[in-house]
């Protein structure tokens, strides 16, 4: 990032994602967008406005508005990808991915293998996650379902710089990529009250990519390794600052960015240094991706561990609506702080 200081702007995640798709569409004729309410005149530019204005440049040919038919969206993306196109498909909410599990799990993830490696499925499926007082069917974080599927890649973008670089890499990747964004991180106006974060960060003017499969260390520390994505990452960073001043505990905070394939090298290197591991995600606890990280850490780093591995996740209940209930379910700073203090105690 430092090299790019000469030409940087400050962008929201939503703006960065828009730039990413626009640049890739200019670069490669085979890239196109497909989804609900993405290019309708006077419409929303996608559920969170990421595609606003893109039809002016690219027209309706390459911005394909569909019926409310998630199976058709995902199936069309799979078919077009098999023919060498690079579709960027759009789910309005990640909860709707369950409508097209067959297309993603049975078709996208398996076609290449079933063909004996003769075909490729270079599609991206973007989907917003996160509990934002919309209740049980618009507030899930279903990344872990897809982490379980060999053949898919799973990405979690947490800020504008990484969102742009990762999305461009995902579009160029020859494998199907599930690209998860958090609703509180888009940078939409007026979401502060609902817990939205002000995440406008520097983004270089010139082109850059962020590779898939590589984690980033967001804060260097020596006492405990904290692995978190999306909005949980920022809660962890806040807690880390607090514990550094108040308790003299130095957290090393890692954003994996890609959950599948996971950059275990970076995480284990940190864990071997700190001997303690806390994993935080907004997906529910049981069978969440944190369980996989914990199991592998126990397998590969057991003799470096000085405390039990802790997971801080959403409780195993459907996401409730009332703000006080929702906050009781998702992993907030208090639970994160308690877990870190427990392993460092």
């Amino acid at each position: 990032m430092s090299e790019a200081a000469a030409g940087t702007r400050r962008l929201t995640v939503g703006e960065a994602l828009r730039e990413a798709v626009a640049e890739e569409m200019r670069r490669d004729e085979s890239v196109f967008l497909i989804g609900e309410d993405i290019g309708i005149e006077g419409g929303f530019g996608g559920a969170f406005g990421v595609y606003l204005g893109l039809t002016d440049e690219f027209g309706h040919g390459r911005i394909v508005d569909t019926p409310i038919s998630e199976k058709a969206i995902a199936g069309a993306a799979v078919g077009a990808a098999l023919m060498g196109m690079r579709p960027v498909a759009d789910m309005q909410y990640s909860d709707f991915l369950f409508e097209c599990m067959d297309e993603l799990v049975n078709q996208a993830a398996k076609m290449r293998a079933m063909s004996g490696g003769r075909l490729r499925v270079p599609l991206v499926m973007r989907a917003p996650v996160g509990a934002t007082t919309r209740g049980a069917q618009h507030g899930q974080s279903p990344e872990s379902y897809f982490v379980h599927v060999p053949g898919l890649k799973v990405v979690c973008a947490s800020d504008a710089y990484h969102a742009k670089g990762l999305l461009k890499s995902a579009i160029r990747d020859d494998n199907p990529v599930l690209f998860f964004e958090h609703k509180l991180l888009y940078g939409s106006k007026g979401r502060e009250q609902a817990g939205g974060l002000d995440l406008i960060v520097e983004v270089p003017e010139e082109e850059y990519l962020v590779p898939l499969g590589r984690a980033v260390v967001k804060r260097v520390g020596t006492d405990v390794t904290v692995v978190a994505t999306h909005v949980s990452l920022y809660r962890c960073l806040a807690v880390a600052e607090e514990l550094a001043t108040g308790n003299g505990i130095e957290c090393e905070v890692i954003d994996p960015l890609t959950l599948l394939p996971l950059d275990t090298e970076t995480i284990w290197a940190s864990l071997r240094k700190t001997g303690r591991l806390v994993i935080v995600h907004e997906d529910t606890l049981t069978g969440g991706w944190g369980a996989e990280v914990a199991a592998r850490a126990a397998d590969e780093c057991l003799y470096h561990l000085e405390a039990p591995i802790k997971r801080v996740a959403a409780h195993d209940v459907p996401v409730p609506y009332a703000p006080v209930l929702e906050q009781a379910v998702v992993p907030g700073t208090e639970r994160i702080r308690a877990a870190i203090l427990e392993v460092c105690g």
């Binding site: 196109f32 497909i34 040919g61 390459r62 394909v64 569909t66 019926p67 038919s69 998630e70 199976k71 058709a72 995902a74 199936g75 069309a76 993306a77 799979v78 078919g79 077009a80 990808a81 098999l82 023919m83 060498g84 196109m85 579709p87 067959d102 297309e103 049975n106 078709q107 076609m111 290449r112 293998a113 079933m114 063909s115 004996g116 490696g117 003769r118 075909l119 490729r120 060999p150 053949g151 890649k153 990747d173 020859d174 494998n175 394939p261």
Partner: protein, 319 residues
């Protein structure tokens, strides 16, 4: 280039090849040479052959859990298809697909999709790619009557319709979804009527008549190629064998089976060829010998081909 129109004798030979291939495969399976399970195509040959005879190599098809006939009709070689059933490295999917996933990108066939209705959305993506690239390729989706009660059937059909995609939906209505008869699962008697509900022309045909299927498919494909959007062809047909390997067909009467067997598409065309003087018994007899030799060659090829290397199995999830 449009393909050289096949002669009626060519169509006969193709149907015969599928029939003899399937009959041979059945015994190879019983003898334990072919692993897994089988969903066989005997009885439905006129559909695959009639439709695929109107397609170019660069047109694409999607298929189902019952794909052997579609594969051979679209141009997968009997050797590559047979070796795939054997799970050999020389198979059309290098032994990674198997009976339910036969396919070959070189001849325009995706690995067959063995989830009922799975192809009905994927095919729209093929059509969308052709439309966006402004090629005049066509995508054909084969599916059974059972698939028409899947949500994917409706979403795919409607999306293809509103986008005007170059897609032909070919329903092989063989009367049963596994053991369940059509009239137990639909109050609408025809699948074609469902197409009309989405503004897509729907046509019900005698799927035991290869020439009729070919004629209807040629029109649907020409319309798709010319940018006039999708068509649904409902081909009434019958599978002469069970749904899969362990099906004693207790849900069908032997009388009903006899009625359909009397309409055997191969026997019908044979009579027509003889009556019209397009071929004589001698020619057709030699054709059978020829087809059997091709099948036997495929079996020998599969038997003598190497297994895939097991050490490769772990590294195949990603490009």
């Amino acid at each position: 280039m449009p393909p050289e129109p096949p002669s009626t004798v060519d169509l006969f030979r193709q149907m015969l090849l599928i029939r003899r291939f399937e009959e041979r495969v059945y015994y190879l399976f019983l003898e334990g040479e072919i692993p897994g399970t089988l969903h066989q195509y005997q009885g439905q040959e006129a559909v695959a052959v009639g439709v695929c005879s109107t397609l170019r190599t660069d047109d694409w098809i999607t298929s189902t859990h019952r794909p052997h006939g579609h594969a051979l009709a679209k141009g997968v070689t009997p050797r590559a298809a047979m070796a795939e059933l054997y799970g050999k490295e020389t198979g059309c999917c290098r032994g990674r697909g198997g009976s339910m996933h036969l396919g070959d990108p070189d001849v325009g066939m995706l690995p067959a999709i063995a989830i009922v209705g799975g192809g009905n959305t994927v095919v729209t993506g093929l059509g969308l790619a052709f439309k966006l690239r402004r090629t005049d390729q066509v995508a054909v989706c084969f599916f059974g009557d059972g698939a028409t009660n899947e949500g994917a059937f409706h979403e795919g059909l409607n999306f293809a319709a509103v986008q005007g995609l170059p897609v032909v939906f070919v329903c092989e209505n063989n009367g049963y979804g596994a053991s369940t008869p059509w009239d137990r699962v639909s109050l609408v008697s025809s699948v074609a009527a469902r197409a009309e509900a989405y503004g897509v022309p729907g046509r019900t045909l005698d799927g035991m008549d290869v020439l009729m299927v070919r004629e209807a498919a040629a029109e649907a494909v020409a319309n798709a190629r010319a940018g006039r959007g999708p068509t649904l062809l409902e081909c009434l047909t019958y599978r002469f064998v069970g749904h899969s390997r362990s099906d004693a067909r207790g849900y069908r009467s032997r009388d009903e089976e006899a009625e359909w067997l009397a309409r055997d598409p191969i026997e019908r065309l044979r009579r027509r060829l003889l009556e019209g003087g397009d071929a004589d018994e001698g020619t057709l007899g030699r054709l059978l010998e020829d087809v059997d030799a091709v099948v036997e060659d495929a079996v020998e090829f599969a038997r003598s081909s190497p297994d895939p290397d097991p050490t490769e199995a772990l590294g195949e999830a990603y490009v």
